[in-house]
């Protein structure tokens, strides 16, 4: 019975993240427009865009290889699997033990790996710019993420997200390390999702693009898949922050339907708040030069390391 329920939750989660991701994008865009005193597109605009892109014909560069065509799907599926394994509204996912926090980080890493590769496939200069900058950011963001994972794992005594969430719910007091980790995670999230101040998802000024530069040569359904993947990634990070730092409302193992309803509601709430904070931050700050980003990410790395060190030193005497 429990197994079946868990399977259902797992399946539900996979669908939910799939459905919510574009909505989150639309929501943030709308909010941003509002904050900038514009009316902005309707919230469901991203869905339309995706459909439109899917229907369009694909214009493929002459020397695009098989990797260029299969890349988007791999990127998408890797991101999706990662997103599906982060507890969103219930901790009791059937397959949550398939990949712990480190593995999820690595999954995102693989999707980035392929993204950077397809960026270089056609052999234009912009693709190269995008890939090389992306990897440079990643080379700082990923260790920071691992440090955060260590910090949390040392506290919770586990790298399993469901266990961590449960631990946070029940027995986590206020810890300095947690604060540091949160700050670090926010920075990483900003960088990973190509948001201001690291990158600007709305820009089309070539030399400032990072993520956009990599997908520059894409069109039609390929572009749609990539956009979808990006949306999923944003959702993933917000739900990650939610799951680790504000786990309240997560439906615990084997609880009734109403608990699940509560969990879902609270999850939507978290998304809304998270998206709002994100937009608020983005509108209140300007994009920084590419070579100031390493400092920005370095801060995250240092914060994560600091949090971990504190735990190491304050452990077991």
């Amino acid at each position: 019975m429990v197994l079946i329920l868990d399977l259902i939750t797992q399946g539900a989660q996979m669908l939910i993240v799939l459905l919510l991701a574009p909505l989150l994008i639309g929501y943030t865009r709308k909010l941003k427009a509002r904050l900038l005193r514009r009316r902005g597109p309707p919230i469901i605009q991203p869905y339309r865009d995706l459909l439109r892109l899917i229907r369009k014909e694909v214009v493929l560069a002459d020397n695009a290889s098989w990797l260029f065509r299969s890349g988007p799907y791999m990127i998408f599926s890797a991101t999706w699997v990662a997103a599906a394994l982060v507890p969103t509204f219930a901790t009791s996912l059937q397959f949550s033990w398939t990949a712990d926090l480190i593995a999820i980080t690595a999954l995102i890493g693989s999707s980035r790996f392929f993204l950077a590769l397809v960026g270089m496939d056609v052999g234009t200069s912009f693709g190269g710019i995008g890939s090389s900058r992306e990897m440079m950011f990643a080379s700082l963001a990923e260790p920071a993420m691992i440090m955060i994972a260590f910090t949390v794992a040392l506290l919770a005594g586990s790298t399993q997200l469901s266990v961590i969430a449960h631990f946070m719910l029940t027995s986590a007091g206020l810890r300095v390390s947690l604060g540091l980790a949160l700050a670090a995670l926010v920075i990483v999230a900003l960088a990973e999702n190509a948001r201001v101040p690291v990158d600007n998802p709305a820009t089309h000024l070539e030399l400032t693009m990072v993520h956009e530069a990599m997908v520059l040569e894409y069109s039609g359904r390929h572009l749609a898949v990539l956009e979808f993947a990006a949306a999923l990634k944003l959702l993933l990070y917000i739900s990650l922050i939610g799951c680790i730092f504000v786990p309240w409302g997560l439906a615990p193992v084997g609880s009734g339907l109403n608990a699940y309803a509560v969990g879902l509601a609270s999850y939507l709430g978290k998304l809304a708040v998270g998206g709002f904070l994100l937009v608020l931050f983005e509108t209140s700050i300007a994009k920084m030069r590419v070579f100031r980003v390493p400092d920005f990410l370095g801060v995250a790395l240092m914060l994560g390391l600091l949090g971990m060190l504190l735990l190491f030193v304050s452990r077991s005497f």
């Binding site: 459909l51 899917i54 014909e57 493929l60 560069a61 002459d62 020397n63 695009a64 098989w66 990797l67 998408f76 599926s77 890797a78 699997v81 397959f95 398939t98 990949a99 712990d100 480190i102 593995a103 690595a106 890493g109 693989s110 790996f113 950077a116 590769l117 270089m120 496939d121 052999g123 234009t124 190269g128 890939s131 090389s132 900058r133 990897m135 990643a138 080379s139 700082l140 260790p143 691992i146 440090m147 260590f150 040392l154 005594g157 790298t159 399993q160 266990v163 520059l216 040569e217 039609g220 359904r221 898949v225 070579f291 390493p294 994560g304 390391l305 971990m308 190491f312 452990r315 077991s316």
Partner: protein, 672 residues
Amino acid sequence: MTSVVIALWSVAALLGVAVLAVVTLRSSAATLLTYGACLAVSIVILAVALTFLIGAAQPQSTKLPFGLPWIGANFRIDALAAFFLAVANLGGAGASLFAIGYGTHEKAPGRVLPFYAAFLAGLNLVVLADDAFTFLVSWEFMSLSSWALVMAHHRDPENRRAGYLYITMASFGTLSLLLAFGLLAGGSGGYTFADMRGTTAALPGLVLILVLLGAGSKAGLVPLHIWLPLAHPAAPSHVSALMSGVMTKVAVYGFIRIIFDLNGPPAWWWGIIVIPLAGITCVLGVLSALMQHDIKRLLAYHTVENIGIIFIGLGLALAFAANAMPAAAALALTAALFHVFNHCVFKSLLFFGSGAVLTATGERDMEHLGGLIHRMPLTAFAFLTGCVAISALPPLNGFVSEWLTFQAILLSPDVPSWGIKLIVPAVGAMLALSAALAAACFVKAFGVTFLGRPRTPAAEGARETDPASLAAMFAFAALCLIAGIFPGFVIDGLAPVTQSLVGGRMPAQSTIPWLSIVPVAESRSSYNGLLVFSFIAIATLAAVEIIHRFASRSLRRGPAWACGYFDASPAIQYTAGSFAQPIRRVFGDVVFLAREHVDMPPPGDPRPARLTVTLRDLVWETIYDPVTNAVWFTAEKLSYLQFLTIRQFLSVVFGALVSLLFLLMLVMLVWS
């Protein structure tokens, strides 16, 4: 016939092949003959080792009337030896298979074939040896034969320099090990490993240092790694694969054998020496790799990085073992050994790929390549698999061992010693950093070599390589995947090794549902490569299916857009140098004192603008330059003694006589 006897016969067979190769050098079949025989023998030893390991058999030893007369040549197989035999001969078999095709392009087979077989024999002998003398003989025999292979293309002065550096460093390492064994054996001359196990050395700490020097210089620990990125690429590619994939592992074996097995119980501070060294090795290795544009040298620098990862595991195991945490020690050791296996597989695979590229284009410099994915798609696919694996990305094998290492790091707060507490987090950060940088580096390696557009006619005219080479590459690519999705079996295979070395083992994995792996307890952490892989596969297929159901089939080929200013010249592509530039900006000016100098001519001046980047190898400048300079200075000064006149020589003799008499007088005066 026991496994050890079979293994020894196989080694004898390899030596026979070496002789045979010399004899049949003239004939055209020599290449096929030699590599075929090597392949067969390697497979035999591999089978023996695997059966031994899986059967968890008792150690077997034998003794031949060679070597040191009064102790003979002792050989032994135990779990550890069996595992490394398996790794070595796996690499050997792969390299031989690859060489069946690759070797036909060799200009001077006479300088490769005999030494190749001898090299394989040496690798196996080191692992089988059970006394100090046999061990060192095999060890140096291994270095010697590989030196000959490095010198195979000796007309290139770079290769000669590499060979010289290599053989000198190898001899340095051997002499350090010699001293270490001197300590372990004691004055009575108990040179067999059995005796050494029985007694504890006079200064175990000094033994550790000496072994770090000896085995470390062979494995490529910073700062003893300088020869490696020169020598490994200089050899023919299948030999590079052996040197990087197997020989460094045999060096690791030497370290484990001496430190974990012979040197008695570890002291609390050993880990504090090994772990930071390993961390620095990781980061320095991968950063140097990022700065390369010679693909084989890039791979060689990555070997340095991976050796660092392995030694992090070993250092943690030492720390845990010193603090009576056998389970944790087993985990760390398993992680290290798993990575030994993984690195052997994907590094060999990558060197095979680079070899295929080298034969197809005659180029090692990535700046002259590009677009090969169109011309050699199969090679590209295999190479890509290797890149994903070495970048520690799920679901392939590289991730699993790195994940295990992370899990071991997460156990380290329980170690009481303060040093560990302070060091391990930093090293964890280094490990994570090097993992991320590795990913960047292989995006560069694959992207610049295989993607984009060909930068030279050589790359333009490349053709897919021969079936034998492809077979080897795909076999290893498959291994990367299998080890990645069924890690549990590998871990269980390693259990007897850890059991015998640190007296503990990881929980049995193969019984866990869904074949996921659980280092300590499921509540703590678990990973399931199989499911991750199948999820990704399913999700991809589903996505493709669904999208294609709704999407328009229509697809049009056109020139790339590139925001409108698309230029036909492939020169505008990002090069290896430009790809690494951001990372060089971030890390380079600290680690390499990187300096960029832009020479921008004023408007109207037809000169091309020119960017020059200077990197400095601080390790070389701070350690090796002073030593070489000191030696040459001394040689220079002493050399005057060659040019004295007879009378001056006489005065030297006279002085010696008088001073000795004077000394004697003093002694006798004091005496009476």
